[in-house]
Symmetry: C2
Subunit: 106 residues, 2 copies
DNA sequence: CGGTATCGTAAGTCATTGCTTACTGTAAGT
DNA sequence: ACTTACAGTAAGCAATGACTTACGATACCG
C-alpha cells in the first residue's frame, strides 16, 4: 500500500471510473458493473487492485460484498505528492520574485 | 494536460524516478540518463510524456535541452484528488462521531 | 566547413495488462 | 436439499507500452 501501487492503480481509466462511482456511498460488484462498459469479472479484478492499493475496502453483506472508498491509499499518495508540490511552488515564487526585482531595476 | 494524462504519466516507475531527479533543479537529457538504468532515447521518450502531462517543461540551452519541473500537471492532479479526499474524510469523521455516540449510550 | 556533441524520432521486440468466457465457491430462498 | 443469486479465480487473447538499436537533425568548436 505505497504510493507506487496507488499511482499504478489509478492509472487505468476504468479503475478511476469505479473509484468515482464509489463516491456517494458503498456499492456491490454487480451494481458497479451495471454502470460500466465492462463485464462483472473485470470489475472484480479492478476492485482487487484498488483494494491492494488501499483505495477501497470491502465488507460482506449477505451474499453480496460491499465496496467503499478507503482513506489509506489517498493519504499515501498525498504524502508522496506534497514535497513535489512544495518544491515546485517554492521555485515558482522564487522566479516570480526574481522577475519582479529585475523589473524594478529597469 | 488533464488529470488523466498526469496519472498515466506518473504510473511508470522510471518516469517517477526522472520526476524525482528533477527536484533540485533543471537537468539535461544526458545527465538524467546517466543516473538511470535505461538508455538516453528511453529518457527522451519519458520526458515527452511528462511534458505532455504538464509535469515538466523544457528550454533550449545551446545544443543541450534543459528540463525542469512544472506546476501545471501537479495542480491538475491535486484538483482532481481534492474532492475524493474531502469526501473520504467526511465519511471518516461521520463514522467516528457515530461510534463515539454509540459508546456514550452504553 | 568538417567534426563532435546533444537530442529527438523510427522501427522492431518483448513483457505487461485489461478484457472475455468458463468455472468454482458461498450464501440466501423455497 | 435444490435452486438461484452474487462474487472471486483461471485461462486465453489482443492491445498497449517500455525498451533497444539505428538513424536524422541541429548547435557548437576547431
Amino acid at each position: 500500500m505505497t504510493y507506487d501501487t496507488v499511482l499504478s492503480a489509478l492509472a487505468d481509466p476504468t479503475r478511476r471510473q469505479i473509484f468515482g462511482l464509489l463516491r456517494g456511498g458503498a456499492s456491490s460488484v454487480n451494481a458497479l458493473a451495471a454502470q460500466l462498459p465492462v463485464s462483472r469479472p473485470a470489475v472484480s479484478q479492478h476492485l482487487k487492485i484498488l483494494k491492494e492499493a488501499g483505495l477501497v475496502s470491502d465488507q460482506r453483506d449477505g451474499a453480496r460484498r460491499l465496496y467503499r472508498l478507503d482513506r489509506a491509499g489517498l493519504a499515501a499518495m498525498r504524502a508522496w505528492l506534497e514535497p513535489f508540490w512544495e518544491e515546485v511552488t517554492a521555485a515558482f515564487n522564487e522566479e516570480w520574485e526574481r522577475q519582479l526585482h529585475d523589473r524594478m531595476n529597469t
